[in-house]
Amino acid sequence: MSTQTAVQSRRTGRFSGIWPPILIAVLFLAAWQIFVVARDIQPYLLPAPSLIVTNFFTDLSLMWAAAFYTGTTAFLGLVFGTVLGLVMALLASRFIVVNHLVTPLAAGLAAVPIIALTPILNNMFNITSRTPRVLVTMIIVLFPMFVNVTRGLLQVKPVQLELMRSMNAHPRTTLKVLRIPNAIPFFFTGLKVAAPLAVIAALVAEYFGGPQEGLGSRIASAAANTAYGRAWAYVVASIITGLIFYLVVVAVEKWTTPWTGRTQST
């Protein structure tokens, strides 16, 4: 991503960097505001950006707490899902039998409709706890992590495997020295998909009862009370939370794996 941006900035000159998207966003919001005011659109149809912003700042402290609650659920689900995905990927890459067993299972998990699952998990576990929500998030995270990391562990250049064999490397050594480093860029690709997804999962899981502290609960209750400006303000807070998750992953990737996204050596 970083190199792409760099290349683009060289190519497009002054239309590059952070300003064009901001300009577009400002123009878009201005058009939205003008449209709502000029046409006298009711807030339940479409609230004006000014109303959303006002609500955002009046509710700021509550919003913080809500984002923190949902963010914590998402983070826990992300951690557990990632760890489980990694373990499954390691086993699947090591034992072909496990691969055949686990891959359909993971695909099955990916097809589980989270919405159908949440009420069931709410019954299985204590509905007043965070547990069912963390579990839902974990299941959502598991699939992209498992699929990407498995691919990274297995997609090693044949010539590199021959090299390891010529050096009489034990499979465990090959895993450590070649397969795992090779899988790291794939790991981050998975994580970049999984991280914002975890926030969405944690948020949607709140729609089915339980503690009312999170972003999802706030959006639902605001909408139910016809406080559309506030509902939208919480939607904005949710977007920001998801973005923060994504950007943290991007930052960690940049910091830990300087070789990704570069031209590969032969």
């Binding site: 021959e162 009489n168 050596s265």
Partner: protein
């Protein structure tokens, strides 16, 4: 070239066969009755058209694939033991460097697997990078280097554990002609400095002639050795590629590849 010091040949291949899918309908005889003895310090090229089994032969010698029949000895050890003892280093057409390691740490890899200490590893790697004239790039990443430089790193890595034998599978195949000739000179210099035995797989007749003490000519279906062409160019220098002896060698190998027992220098070619 260095004299024979041990009673063993550097490499001894005896009655070697490699048959893929033996017994089934799509049986392919990749190597048929290969016999080849290589003296310590000798530079041997394997040349032949695609599918003649030269890469397969190299892989059987390196114990990267099994022989169907016959035996391979490296310095008196079976190929399997030789691989376990790291009696050879290998370089491929692809440099096969690890992008997540610096150039120095790529060269250190074989030493790391041997369990050598950090400091010794580092010293040895820097020594080798000096040998391939890449000292300034020790802390660079592989992708920052040109193809020729990457290949030099791969050669340094293949020399890391100081094996008596180097197996090279078209290591310069992906390089442009100028880089290639420079790399050939580099390789000959490294050979002279280290006294290694080398088996070098190539498609290029001039390359084989320029580098080798003996050019082993192979032919496909089934893969076999048809001729062995001795080359006597003496000390190589800038003018070697212009000499009559060089052209004679090129002609002899070309004729051998065409399957003729050549008029160029019939007495010097052993036919199988």
């Amino acid at each position: 070239m260095s004299s024979v010091q041990t009673s063993h040949q550097a490499v001894d291949v005896q009655g070697l066969w490699k048959i893929f899918n033996e017994g089934s309908n799509n049986e392919v005889t990749a190597l048929s009755d290969i016999n080849l003895s290589i003296k310590p310090g000798e530079f041997i090229s394997l040349i032949g058209p695609s599918g003649c089994g030269k890469s397969t032969l190299l892989r059987v010698i390196g114990d990267l694939t099994d022989a169907t029949r016959g035996e391979v000895f490296i310095a008196g050890e079976t190929a399997h033991i030789a691989r376990e003892k790291q009696l050879y280093g290998i370089a491929f057409q692809q440099a096969a460097l690890f992008d997540w390691r610096t150039v120095r740490r790529n060269v250190e890899l074989p030493l790391e697997l041997q369990g050598l200490g950090k400091k010794e590893r580092r010293e040895r790697a820097l020594e080798l990078l000096e040998l391939v004239q890449l000292s300034d790039f020790a802390e660079h990443r592989p992708w920052e280097l040109s193809g020729g430089m990457q290949q030099r790193v791969a050669i340094a890595r293949s020399l890391a554990v100081d094996p008596p034998l180097l197996l090279m599978d078209e290591p310069f195949g992906a390089l442009d002609e100028m880089t290639r000739e420079r790399m050939q000179n580099e390789l000959l210099r490294i050979c002279q400095e280290t006294g290694k035995t080398i088996i070098f797989v190539t498609h290029s007749i001039p390359e084989a002639v320029y580098l080798s003490d003996r050019v082993v000519v192979m032919s496909p279906r089934p893969g076999r050795i048809t001729h062995t062409v001795p080359i006597e160019l003496g000390e190589r220098n800038e003018d070697t590629r212009e000499t009559d002896t060089f052209y004679a060698g090129v002609t002899a190998v070309r004729e051998a590849l065409r399957g003729r027992s050549t008029s160029a220098s019939p007495s010097r070619i052993e036919e199988f």
